[in-house]
Amino acid sequence: MNRAAVALVSALVLGSAYAVAAGVVSDLDTLRDLHRSAYVGSAACARCHPSHDESFRRTFHRTMTQEATAESVLGAFDGRALRYGGRTARMARADGGRFVVEVSGDDGRALERWTVARLVGSRRHQQLFTREGDVWVRLPIAWDVEEGRFFHLNGAFLTPDPEVPEGGRIAEADYLRHSVRWNDNCIFCHNVAPDPGLDPATGAFDSRVAELGVACEACHGPGADHVRANASPVRRYALHASDDADPTIVNPARLSPERRSEVCGRCHGQRITDDVGRFLAHGDPFVPGDSLADYSRPLARDTPLHGDPEAFAPRFYGDGTARLTAYEYQGLLQSACASEGALSCTDCHGMHEGDPRGQIRPSALGNAMCAGACHGELASDDALLAHAGHVSVACVDCHMPRIVYGIRTLHRSHRIDVPRPLADQAAGRVDACTLCHTDANADWAEAAIAAHYPRRLAPEGTPSTTRGLLGGDPIERSVSAAALGRGTAANDRDARLGLLLAAMQDDPYPAVRGIAWRSLRALAPTAGEIERFTSTDDARERRAQIEGITRALLASHESISSPDGALVAELRARAELRAIEIGE
């Protein structure tokens, strides 16, 4: 009897085990349509992936969008004020701990009072949003995380100073020029599964996201099926024991380089769609692993908008290289490293490793990525010297120069290309050579490259950075101002000080003045009250501040070589004063 019972139980156990195993094998072989799966949020992922969760939580992706709380607000809402355009914005805490921005006129009359409800950004800047009914609206004041002070958005975007009428108070439209709606702008790239929920009939929004910020499912796809399926320990251990992919989730590392980069390109590559209405009403249907081209295409210099082929041209140099951030995907597509070498974003950037600022993989730092992956012949200092004529510069300094404008800073171009100074100049770019050789111009750089880097030829003509700083369009001026502040800049310190002071005083764009100020501060961090300089202050206040800085520089035995007045006038006359929209 006992033997029969044991045999029966054993048969049942073995039969059940076989059925479970067969079910798991079949399940793992069944492809899923992840568009049908639901989102669960990163907390559900953390239960089984604590290490990945921990490494993700370090990143600024996580805090890309947050509700305004005492923990998430970085700005100093301690009653401090920011005066701009004939108004004073005061940032303070109100009853119940709310964060408020109160704007008053010079006469002290209250003009606006906004409660901060939502935040975007946490690394360099934190933008503030107030809620008005069903929409969140960006406030004109933001917090500069690195500087530790508030700034007006007119000093961040590439638009000229607004007209200042008698009385000094700029128009409300100018003060609020960069107010945008979160619901149909920021929502798309700063959250998981964005859905603006616009009702085209009423214009009302019912905006929803699966999770605020860029979290796990932005890159791995919706996780409900994955969580449900892997509640089975048999299934999990079958996966642990095999190298097979789990069809219930996307692992970008298993995608082709093209598809992998498209996961990043969804947000790091401004796109346009033929079906804007569908995006606004129901959200972006893209799920990692999809082809981006199924729903949208990346913006290019000649992408037409309402029949206008020049609509997006200001966002690109003449050769199609992006001039703004959030076009890194376009840069990658234009690079031979990707088209001929299968380079993808995640070869250099790791979402779960590296310094959160840039998220460069430790294995890709310095020249390790280039020399380690495809250009092993350049791994030694001798080979690098023979190749580039320098050993102290990194591959990216020449092949990914800092010519891309982000908000209040310059970034590396992600179009990995070869410096061609004259062609770059023709395209409106400051070439990589003269970004360091700031006392030389493109002709010199072209000749130097042609002669394979002999010692310095005598520069003729105006240096490229001088021409760019004083006579370029806003991005060229920003690129040159940033280049003059770096330790690599080759021209004399007194000339750099003079050029930067001139730009801080007279450039018609506050954003460019701000970049010039940062460069000057890098050169002379203790010059008087340099920290007090505010690029959005009016010309009279700026002059007073610059005079103070100049006095301090001279008192510390610095010499300042101001650029020739006639040259400045000639170049300023050539400078382009168009506004360049960042394109949110």
Partner: protein, 146 residues
Amino acid sequence: MSEPGETDLLRARARRIGWTSLLGWAAVGLLLEGAHGFKLSRYLDDALTRELCTLGHAHGVGLALVVLVFGEAGLPVLSASTRGSTLTTLALGSVLVPSAFLLSSIAHPEGDPNALVWLVPVGAAMILAALVRTARATWARPPPPE
């Protein structure tokens, strides 16, 4: 001086197993405290490793005590024909469960113990089988004296 009976021999075996096991698993507890004291990052930084080691230590100590109690209070209620096999089953299970917890913390995949953790339910089934047999025996009529 009379020869020891079978129950006495089994009780001695249970004592050896129980006290030795208690010593071993208590020593593991000391090691875990040491890992805390010396801030051993490989132990402290991995929550799952910590949990599995703690489970191993706690189950090891607890089950060692169960074996000791079984030797004193369980053996007498069982019939002579089942005493030996029940002790063996209980002892094996009480070693298997904590050992599987402890060893499954080594080189485990993210979020899960390694595959050795599958020995935990096997050991638990053995312990339960021994406990069921002992509990049933307490409800039956007393075995005849040896």
